[in-house]
């Protein structure tokens, strides 16, 4: 049961600015020799903060919510999987505990 993640870092593009380390909530990156490197890949929760804040566009990750309820409802209704909160489209999910 190996957990998978889509996080990838293209080190050749990295400028070593350290933004990824600043934004990562799970300590996935570190800087060594002025380049970022992934040290805890399996801790990645695919929130996309690093990708969004990487000016050099060295990071890629499939971003989404790790919420089973959202995904199952999305599979049943054909709507996009998202936390229901704050969206008129997915009213059914508005009261899940993730929003809070």
């Amino acid at each position: 049961m190996k957990t998978i993640t889509t996080l990838e870092l293209e080190q050749s593009k990295c400028t070593g600015c350290g933004r990824c380390i600043e934004v990562c909530p799970h300590n996935v990156f570190q800087i060594r020799n002025k380049k970022a490197e992934i040290i805890h890949l399996l801790d990645c929760m695919e929130c996309g903060a690093c990708q969004k804040n990487c000016q050099a566009q060295a990071i890629s990750v499939e971003v989404g919510v790790g919420c089973a309820a959202a995904m199952m409802i999305s599979a049943l209704t054909g709507q996009e999987a998202a936390c229901g909160c704050g969206s008129d489209k997915t009213k059914t999910l508005q009261n899940t505990s993730c929003c809070g």
Binding site: M1, T3, I4, T5, T6, R19, I21, E22, V23, C24, P25, H26, N27, D43, C44, M45, E46, C47, G48, A49, K52, N53, Q55, E62, V63, G64, V65, G66, C67, A68, A69, A70, M71, M72, A81, A82, C83, C85, G86, S87, Q94, N95, T96, S97, C98, C99, G100
Partner: protein, 373 residues
């Protein structure tokens, strides 16, 4: 623009274009999203959001005033939101807020307009003077809103401009809560506004230390999921199932006997056990933890309430499957699950849960029909 407050249900608003709106909810939303761009002199607040003294407007300057004081009303509100009461209307007016008496050197903190996010922020800034730039995140907390992009680059840029922030402060620094980062491209914000984004600590309680030292330690950057953080989620997990499950348990106890009734009651126990025992239960996946708990639960109950093997098998199957499913639904409330991880978990586990439920149901139905033949 102005609005007149009638009874609790009705608000009449007339916006700049002269449109008349009578619906309370749309009126409130419209006011909240438009208020910073228009002269807000003389506008009162809707009773569901900002009625206390501390949230009165500093008229003419388009700055709202707040402080760090936390009274009974605030505490009650927080308790309510934890139970999901009034949560979707827990909205703070977006715009620039003054906490205490900030000046041109005071820090600018960016927050969401979910009441609980805002309250936690101001509560932890006791004794400080600061600007709080509240984004319009539709009443959603920073992390969830960042995931949706409502707490994002565009909204920050818009708020910085409409609040004329550069006239209020000399420095060019925005302190954004770190969990807002999935929605904010810091380099874009800097390019478009001239303000440099500094990601502050994850937890508001670390803010005073951060403001003093200007440094965020690596532990302040790390998201945790400790016992207190998990237990606080239980009310939201239980609030919808509590009454129906209690009712079903009582009815089924008399109609079908205790085993089926207790299988249903197990749903509630699991809802409490998963958050509490999260770190003790085995397995990396939540479903593994849930299935293990369901097994344990069935075993303990079968010891207290002796049952035959044909009572025990469906009871075990129902408990294990239901607990695994409930645990699976807890993924959205955790702070570490990823979209691809959960997708893999769903694909692997759902067939087994289905097998368990079908097994339990078919044996129960056969037994139930058998009794009448």
């Amino acid at each position: 623009m102005f609005w007149i407050r009638g009874n609790k249900k009705t608000v009449i608003t007339i916006n700049k274009e002269g449109d008349l709106k009578m619906n309370r909810k749309t009126a409130v939303t419209n006011i909240l999203s438009n208020v910073t761009g228009i002269d807000i002199n003389g506008i009162e607040y809707p009773d569901s959001t900002d009625q206390s003294e501390k949230t009165k407007i500093w008229s003419q300057t388009r700055i709202y005033k707040t402080d760090s004081h936390f009274d009974f009303y605030d505490t009650l509100n927080q308790w309510k939101y934890r139970w999901g009461i009034g949560r979707m209307n827990a909205i703070v007016t977006p715009g620039l807020w003054a906490l205490g008496t900030p000046d041109e050197n005071s820090p600018v903190l960016v927050s969401a307009n979910y009441r609980m996010s805002f309250d936690v922020l101001r509560k932890n800034l006791e004794g400080d003077n600061a600007w709080i730039l509240v984004l319009d995140t539709k009443g959603i907390n920073v992390w969830c809103a960042a995931g949706k992009g409502t707490f994002g680059t565009e909204e920050i840029v818009r708020r910085v401009q409409t609040s004329e922030l550069e006239k209020k402060v000399k420095h060019h620094r925005l302190i954004v809560q770190q969990l807002g980062a999935p929605g904010v491209a810091s380099h874009e914000v800097e390019k478009q506004t001239g303000f440099r984004v500094v990601y502050g600590p994850v937890r508001a309680k670390d803010l005073p230390a951060f403001l003093d030292t200007g440094r965020v330690t690596s532990s302040m950057r790390l998201v945790t999921f400790n016992l207190a953080e998990r237990v606080i989620l239980i009310p939201m997990e239980l609030r919808f199932v509590f009454l129906p499950v209690l009712l079903a348990t009582i009815i089924l106890w008399f109609v079908t006997g205790p085993t089926i009734a207790l299988s249903i009651a197990g749903i509630m126990i699991t809802g409490i056990a998963i958050p509490v025992l999260h770190n003790i239960l085995p397995g990396k996946w939540l479903t593994t933890k849930g299935a293990f708990w369901g097994f344990l639960q069935a075993l303990v109950i079968s010891l207290i309430l002796p049952m035959s093997i044909w009572q025990f098998i469906p009871f075990l199957a129902a408990n294990v499957s239901a607990s695994a499913f409930i645990a699976l639904n807890f993924t959205g409330a955790t702070t570490y699950t990823s979209v691809n991880g959960v997708r893999q978990e769903i694909k692997t586990v759902i067939p087994w849960i289905a097998v368990g439920i079908v097994t339990a149901l078919s044996i129960w139905i056969i037994q139930f029909v058998w009794k009448f033949i």
